[in-house]
Structures are given as structure tokens and as C-alpha cells.
């Protein structure tokens, strides 16, 4: 691979850069509280909230940077930010 002029590249190449390792806190759903309102999916700046067939959502931890917007905005406090530990 060599660098193209000005770094021009095919679209979608950011998929290669998995940014999940930047995360300090990981969001975790409490599906008993979740009302499937979709706010977390709408507000996620990294498109790291993925819909499931059953109407609930799950996090794509390859790209979630742990910003916590979803947990902050969740009207039912159904998302907990848990410290990442080895």
C-alpha cells in the first residue's frame, strides 16, 4: 500500500480503524428497563448502536469510543457506563 496524493482514498476506509480501544467506559444495556425508543441509536456519533431483530439495540464495541451520550440521554437510565478493566 502506498499513500495517494493528498491521502485521497476509497470511502468507508475508517472501518479499518477500530476505535473501540479508545474507550474508558463501556456502555451496557439493561434490557429490562429499555423501552426501544431509539434515542441511543439516533444520538450515537459513531453509528455504534446497532438495531436487533427483536427491536432492542446492541453496541458495536469495535467502534464505540465510550463517549456516554447514549447513557446520558436515555430517558429510562437503561444504559450503564462500566469502567473498562483488563
Amino acid at each position: 500500500m502506498s499513500i495517494q496524493l493528498g491521502g485521497v482514498c476509497e470511502p468507508g476506509t475508517t472501518r479499518v480503524n477500530k476505535t473501540g480501544a479508545w474507550r474508558t467506559f463501556r456502555p451496557v444495556y439493561d434490557y429490562d428497563k429499555c423501552i426501544k425508543c431509539k434515542l441511543c441509536e439516533l444520538l450515537c456519533p459513531d453509528m455504534a448502536v446497532l438495531p436487533r431483530d427483536d427491536g432492542f439495540f446492541e453496541f458495536d464495541y469495535d467502534y464505540c469510543k465510550g463517549c456516554g451520550i447514549c447513557a446520558n440521554e436515555c430517558p429510562k437510565d437503561a444504559i450503564e457506563m462500566v469502567l473498562e478493566e483488563k
Binding site: G6, G7, E10
Partner: protein
């Protein structure tokens, strides 16, 4: 080869510097012009606006923006979309563009911008020196400085030619002294449309932003690749050195006008004392050199026309046989007490066999007039350096002690 002008009097006009530049931009057939007014650059974009209103520039968008930051940012997208882009600015406006200057260069977009050089605030001062563009020297823009109106006009086409070269693809600033050139009227040949069409091919970039063929511009580069991006930018600057010479030579063949490429020399061949300078000051020095030569003083002039990429080799060859060199600077690096032409010339000679004494004299800051007497005094002092060595390496040559 020194300055050559075979000017056809039937083709000559008398025009203001800003108009000459605006006309030059027009005949280079730009596709996007972004405009934000700031003295002493405003006349350029005003004249271009008039050309637009009169329907004289086809296939072109003229964008009024809300700041210089936006002016250049608008051109990032436009240039990526394949447009030949132009803007003009000066002083604080150029400094506001600082961040975007790096982006344009890093994304390898060959934008051309005229700088009507002006001092920077504070204290506020709208007159000429080179502090504004010199402060942007590390942003990855080609920088060229013009001596007079014919040159800044012609330099516009040369700048597009070099910037858009596939081996260069770097943005360029063409610098003209604010007021001294931007607002003065001189007889000149306005850049000829038919000849420019022959000289400057249409801009056809390798990559363009196009919804039909999506590409990512300006993606990030992490530590595994960033160094190589910077290396490639430097390589492009190295490539620009011969391209600037070629662009000047080719311009001469087509237009019959020549001002040097990287540098130009005047009476340097047997000169004991060589004065180096950039911009309109060069014209004053030319006259002083003539006067001194008439009195038997072996003085010469080295005009540095291209400051980035820095033509170290060409400068070295021009001054290697002199007995003393004086670099004149309309800028200062505060904390070093040197102007950049002096610092860089001195630095580029250090690991060479050339051992010419070189001193720096800063003059003409904030628009202070530079009469011939100031240059003559500098030459007089330089004579002393030949006989008894350097006393003061760098200083202001026109300081008013009574104000301190």
C-alpha cells in the same frame, strides 16, 4: 539571464496593481473565487467582482464569505471538486487562515492566492512589510515575491502552472507589496488571454470530489503514516524548484518576459558587495546599484523571487564569490532579532565550503519608506565588513533611536 521585457507598446495599458492582478486571475480562467475584503487587498476582489457582474468570467462561482477562515475553507472543497481556485488576502486575514493553510497544502490542493503584503497588528498598521506571509512559511505553500506590477501580474499564471503540475500539486502564494504595488499605477501589458490559453492548460486533477464516484478527502493519518505524508509534501517542494525555473522559461518563450525563476541577479558577476532582497525593494536597490557602479563601487543585487521552496543552491552559487553579503528583510523573528532571508541564507551556507561574511539588516517595517540613502548607508557599512569583519550581525537599519 536578467530581467527581459520585450513590451509591445500597442499592447500596453496603465493600470493599478490590484487591477492587473484581477485581470491576470480572470485570464487564468478560475472556477471559484472566494472573497473577503481586507486592506490593501480589497481592490483585487472588487475588480474580480466587477468582472463577474459584467459576465467576463465564464464558468466561475464568486463566493462572498464571512471571514478569511471561510474564504480559504470554501476553496478546500472547491479545489477538491476539481475547480481552479483563487482568493486574495493580507496581514491579519492571512493569519486567520493559518489553520486552513496547512489543510490546503496537506490535501495537495493547488490553490493560488495573492498576498498584498502588510504588517501585522498590534499596533494596527495597514502598510507594507513581509511579516504576514513570512509568518506562514512553514504551512507548505509555495511563496513567490514580485518586484513590480508586470511581474506580479505574470506571476499569477506562473503560479498556477507550477502549483498544478502533477509532480508538485501544492498551493502557491504570490506576494506583492501592499500599497507599494497593490495601489500604484504603472504602464504594463495586461496578461494576454490568447497567450495564457497557450501557456496554462486546464486544471485536470487526478482525484475529484464527485458524488457519482465517492472518494474520501482529508482522512486522518495515524502515527504509522503521518511522517510519510509530510515527507511527500517536502518532496513536492523539492520538485517545485526546477518547475519554477521551467515555468519562468516557458513563460519567456511565449510572452517574451522574464524576471528570473527562483532568483534573479543584477551586476553580481564581479560584485564585492551583494545585497539580497525580496519584493518591490528590489527595484530601489537596482537604482542604488547603478549609482554605485557609476562611482566604481562593485555592488550587485540578488533578487530572491521564490522564498518557498527556499532556493539554497541558487543563492549559494550567486553569492559564493562576493566579499560580503547583506540580506535585507521586511520581517523579524522576535527573540532571534533576525529577518528570515538572513537566517535562512546564513543557515544554508553553514555546511558548505562557501565562507562569505553575511549580515542581516531589517528595514521598511510597517511601511517605513526605504529611500536610496538607507541602502547606500548599508553598502557603506558593508565596505567596512570587508576590511575589518562583522561588527553587528543583524539589526534594524532604519531605527529611530529618538523614539525609544
Amino acid at each position: 539571464m536578467t530581467v527581459i521585457r520585450t513590451l509591445d507598446k500597442d499592447k500596453m495599458d496603465v493600470a493599478e496593481g490590484s487591477y492587473a492582478v484581477a485581470h491576470a486571475v480572470k485570464v487564468c480562467r478560475p472556477n471559484v473565487i472566494s472573497a473577503y475584503p481586507i486592506t490593501p487587498q480589497t481592490h483585487i476582489v472588487e475588480d474580480l467582482s466587477q468582472f463577474m457582474a459584467d459576465g467576463e468570467i465564464s464558468n466561475c462561482e464568486y463566493i462572498n464569505v464571512e471571514s478569511e477562515f471561510s474564504a480559504l475553507s470554501a476553496l478546500v472543497g472547491s479545489a477538491a471538486a476539481g475547480a481552479r481556485c483563487y482568493s486574495a488576502t493580507t496581514s491579519q486575514g492571512l493569519e486567520l487562515m493559518h489553520e486552513v493553510l496547512f489543510n490546503v497544502s496537506g490535501m495537495r490542493l493547488p490553490v493560488v492566492m495573492t498576498i498584498a503584503n502588510r504588517a501585522v497588528s498590534a499596533p494596527i498598521n495597514i502598510w507594507n512589510d513581509h511579516q504576514d506571509s513570512i509568518s506562514q512559511r512553514d504551512t507548505g505553500w509555495i511563496q513567490m515575491y514580485a518586484e513590480d506590477l508586470q511581474e506580479i501580474s505574470d506571476m499569477t499564471a506562473q503560479a498556477y502552472k507550477v502549483a498544478e503540475d502533477k509532480d508538485v500539486m501544492m498551493p502557491a502564494m504570490t506576494c506583492m507589496d501592499g500599497f507599494i504595488l497593490s495601489h500604484v499605477y504603472e504602464p504594463l501589458v495586461l496578461l494576454e488571454q490568447d497567450l495564457v490559453d497557450e501557456y496554462l492548460p486546464a486544471y485536470e486533477p487526478e482525484f475529484t470530489l464527485d458524488p457519482k464516484n465517492p472518494l474520501t478527502f482529508g482522512a486522518f493519518a495515524d502515527p504509522t503514516a503521518y511522517t510519510e505524508f509530510r515527507y511527500l509534501q517536502q518532496q513536492a517542494m523539492d520538485n517545485a524548484l526546477p518547475k519554477i525555473e521551467e515555468a519562468a522559461n516557458e513563460f519567456y518563450e511565449i510572452f517574451g518576459r522574464y524576471y528570473g525563476g527562483l532568483i534573479d541577479e543584477y551586476e553580481t558577476e564581479d560584485a564585492d558587495i551583494i545585497l539580497m532582497a525580496m519584493g518591490s525593494l528590489v527595484g530601489t536597490i537596482r537604482d542604488v546599484v547603478d549609482k554605485l557602479r557609476a562611482k566604481g563601487v562593485k555592488a550587485g543585487l540578488l533578487k530572491v523571487r521564490t522564498f518557498r521552496p527556499f532556493p539554497a543552491e541558487a543563492i549559494k552559487n550567486a553569492i559564493k564569490d562576493a566579499k560580503v553579503v547583506v540580506a535585507l528583510d521586511k520581517n523579524i523573528s522576535l527573540g532571534l532579532n533576525e529577518g528570515s532571508l538572513f537566517t535562512e541564507t546564513k543557515a544554508s551556507l553553514y555546511n558548505t565550503k562557501v565562507d562569505v561574511p553575511i549580515v542581516g539588516r531589517m528595514i521598511g517595517h510597517g511601511g517605513r519608506d526605504i529611500p536610496e540613502k538607507t541602502i547606500e548607508d548599508i553598502v557603506e557599512e558593508a565596505k567596512g565588513i570587508i576590511s575589518s569583519g562583522i561588527n553587528t550581525e543583524s539589526k534594524y537599519a532604519d531605527l529611530k533611536e529618538e523614539l525609544l
